[in-house]
Structure formats: C-alpha cells, structure tokens
Symmetry: C2
Subunit: 136 residues, 2 copies
Amino acid sequence: MDRVPVLKIGEILLVSIQVDMDDHTALQLQDDLTERIVDTQAAGVIIDITALDIVDSFIGRMLSTIASVSRVLDAETVVVGMRPAVAITLVELGLSLHGVRTALNVERGMELLARTAPARAGSLSEEADHDEALTP
Amino acid sequence: MDRVPVLKIGEILLVSIQVDMDDHTALQLQDDLTERIVDTQAAGVIIDITALDIVDSFIGRMLSTIASVSRVLDAETVVVGMRPAVAITLVELGLSLHGVRTALNVERGMELLARTAPARAGSLSEEADHDEALTP
C-alpha cells in the first residue's frame, strides 16, 4: 500500500493523502499524478490532507512541486482539508506552500477550480458522467 | 493517522481506504460515516478500494456492515476501484460482498447512485456547489 490512489471526478483529479509520505511515495504520487493529468486532460488537482496531523517542510515541498508540475501541464492544484492545528504550525514555522492554493474542503476546492478555470472546468459537474467529453 | 477521512461531494460521501484496516479503524470509520450521513443527509456512499491489494473476510464484512447501516439511514453504498486480482480472489475464496454494489471507478459509482436514487441524487452534480441545498 505504498501508492496513493488518484481518483478522477469529471475534469478533476482527487488525491487523498492518508499514509506517511516518504521520498519514494512522494515521487510515485508525483509520477502517477502527472501521468493521469496528461491521460485525462484534467483541469484541476485537489489534494485532500484531512488525515495529516502535521505538514512539515518535506510535505510542503512535495505539495509545491506537485502544484508547479501540474501548472506546467495546465492543471490548477488546490490543497483542501487542512486542519486548524496544521495551519497554525505552518504559519509559526514560517513555511509557505509556494504556489499552492488552499480551500476548506473538497467542495470548496471544486468551486475554486470551476471559477479559476471556467473555460475548461466550468462544466465540471455536468461532465462527471461523460468520459468521452474528455477525449475530443 | 488511524482515521479514514470522509469527503463530501454533493450528496455523496467519498471514502478512500488506503491504510491497513484493523478493528479499531474499521469501527471508527463506521462511526464517522454514519455520523456524516446523518449530518449531511447524504444520498450515497462511495468506498474506493483502489489501494487495497487484498480484500479478506474482515474487510468484506466491514464493507457489508457499512452498506447495511447506510441503507438503514437511506444512503446507498457503492464500492469502486476493485483491482482485477482482488475480484478474482473474492470469487475464488467464495466471499460475497453481501448487500454491496460495485462499480468500476468513482465516476461510474456516481452514475450508479444517480440512477438508483434519482429522486434525491439525480441532481448530485448540480448540487455539488450548493451546500445550503442540503440543509432545507
């Protein structure tokens, strides 16, 4: 179980991080995610960190890297589900999630993506059941 | 990290199982899930098991129990993302996921829920960005 699953919902890829991330898992996730972005032409990536008790500099860097790589592939990244304690620690440690946008929960993240990428993601919800719409 | 996060997307609750389930984690998930179903008046539960290499009788029973409890609370359960090897093992071991419906992936699961609970879940996608629609 050293792979974090990438779930496709409409034009969004959803990743829920629940396991301890080490170098290998982080790289694997990055690889899987970029491959899926290309395969599915996803407009956005939502990373849920509800399960994380702590976001250290390693996780922070991983999130930043994922966001940067995704952006190059024309997909926006939103991190959701951050716990209050995690947010406080981030600020106290002076860690900034460079280039990473955040939203309260998955639904807010989807709204944010729909707003920021209206041309592609505006019809996210309607396209949830039209796989073929993604491969013109 | 002994809690499996429950993500709300429209009227659906999404659970992605990635950690080894023991008695405690399973009970915790069941508690969290039933609480969330009541809180959010969810019409359906999607359990993603992409990350599971094996579904033994313990996991099978857990899935059945979750489905039964959810049904009592008027929410349908769909298990998605089962690996081919897992499906083969299930059949070979003669394990039946009693009362559990399956779909290929999250999107198919959402379609299935929209079909089976059209009155409530038919507008799943449209309601994804209207939290307030859930609390009349």
